[in-house]
């Protein structure tokens, strides 16, 4: 059967029987074009968010000015959770479909997710100390936030520790999906049996006008951090693609240009 042989060698010489390489090759310049726009949007939105937080939000004499920390704390927390969902979706698709690009997207998201998880804990601690007098409590939200940071770090470490990229992809994907199950379980069990300091502390008695401004500022900051995440993850995705696909024809041609 000569025709069947030719097609199989043709697809094998491209390295993958489906669109994997073509997708990476297509996405590489697209990501490069999109990243600066996301970065610019992030700069504008974060500047606007900080302006709202530091100049439009009124003085808060009853609660204390540390309530302005919420403007970075909550958006950073939202982003760490959102990025984890995005990473889990990409890792799941990569694991089930044995799809390299999805796994690369997941690995590109992990460091930025870890950064936001760390920031959520750090800013939360700086908010918690003046608000409830302690840096840390083992309540449901803090415990699961710590677990979230640990999961991001473990994913990053798996990719740096394992030389075989495909093995690292699979290990990281399994870990990410286990974490996806573990996070709500830990949250629920600590919420049930542990201390619950977080909820009453967030019962801020702010005037409705202040709450509207605070919410607007947090949403603008959140949009800014989301744009930053897109810019950082797309830039990292390009680096990951170059590292992993350096032997493929199109990268070699790109280098030759």
């Amino acid at each position: 059967m000569p025709p069947a042989d030719t097609t199989s060698t043709a697809s094998e010489s491209r390295g993958m029987p489906w669109l994997g390489i073509a997708l990476e090759q297509k996405l590489y310049p697209l990501a490069g074009n999109a990243a600066p726009w996301f970065a610019a949007a992030a700069a504008v939105l974060c500047a606007l968010g900080l302006y709202i937080g530091f100049f439009l939000l009124p003085r808060e004499l009853a609660q204390g000015e540390h309530y302005r920390i919420l403007l970075i704390h909550l958006p950073a927390t939202w982003m760490s959770i959102l990025i984890y969902f995005a990473m889990a979706a990409a890792a799941g698709v990569g694991l089930v479909g044995n799809h390299r690009l999805s796994a690369m997207v997941a690995s590109a998201l992990a460091p930025t997710g870890g950064m936001f998880a760390f920031l959520a804990l750090w800013t939360g601690s700086l908010w918690g100390k003046p608000s409830w007098g302690v840096w840390w409590v083992w309540d449901a939200q803090l415990t699961s936030a710590l677990l979230l940071l640990g999961l991001f770090l473990a994913v990053v470490m798996l990719h740096t520790a394992l030389d075989d990229a495909r093995r690292a992809d699979r290990a990281a994907a399994v870990l990410t999906l286990v974490g996806l199950v573990a996070l709500p379980v830990v949250y629920a069990s600590v919420a049930r049996w542990g201390s619950a300091a977080h909820e009453n502390s967030l019962a801020l008695s702010l005037a409705p006008g202040i709450i509207d401004t605070l919410l607007t500022g947090m949403l603008v900051m959140g949009a800014g951090l989301a744009a930053y995440t897109a810019a950082a993850a797309l830039t990292r995705l390009r680096i990951v693609i170059l590292e992993r696909e350096r032997r493929s024809d199109w990268v070699v041609r790109l280098v030759g240009e």
Binding site: E65, H66, T123, L242, R246
Partner: protein
């Protein structure tokens, strides 16, 4: 404008240490990530440049050996 003076702004009603520690570290972490991204992009591009040069060397290597 919420603040009477810049010193009042920096003092943050006595919570300056908490507020600025939170925002300063956020800034530092973001800057650190950007620096790492720029450096690792440069390093992979250098590396790819080197491998392309390495390939040219590979093809020229037999030429160097043939006269000997």
């Amino acid at each position: 404008m919420a603040w009477d003076s810049w010193s009042a702004f920096w003092a943050m009603g006595g919570y300056g240490l908490y507020v600025w520690a939170a925002y300063l570290l956020a800034l530092m972490v973001v800057v650190a990530e950007i620096v790492v991204l720029v450096l690792s992009r440069r390093s992979i591009l250098d590396h790819l440049g080197l491998t392309a040069r390495g390939r040219r060397k590979d093809t020229s290597a037999p030429d160097d050996e043939t006269p000997a």
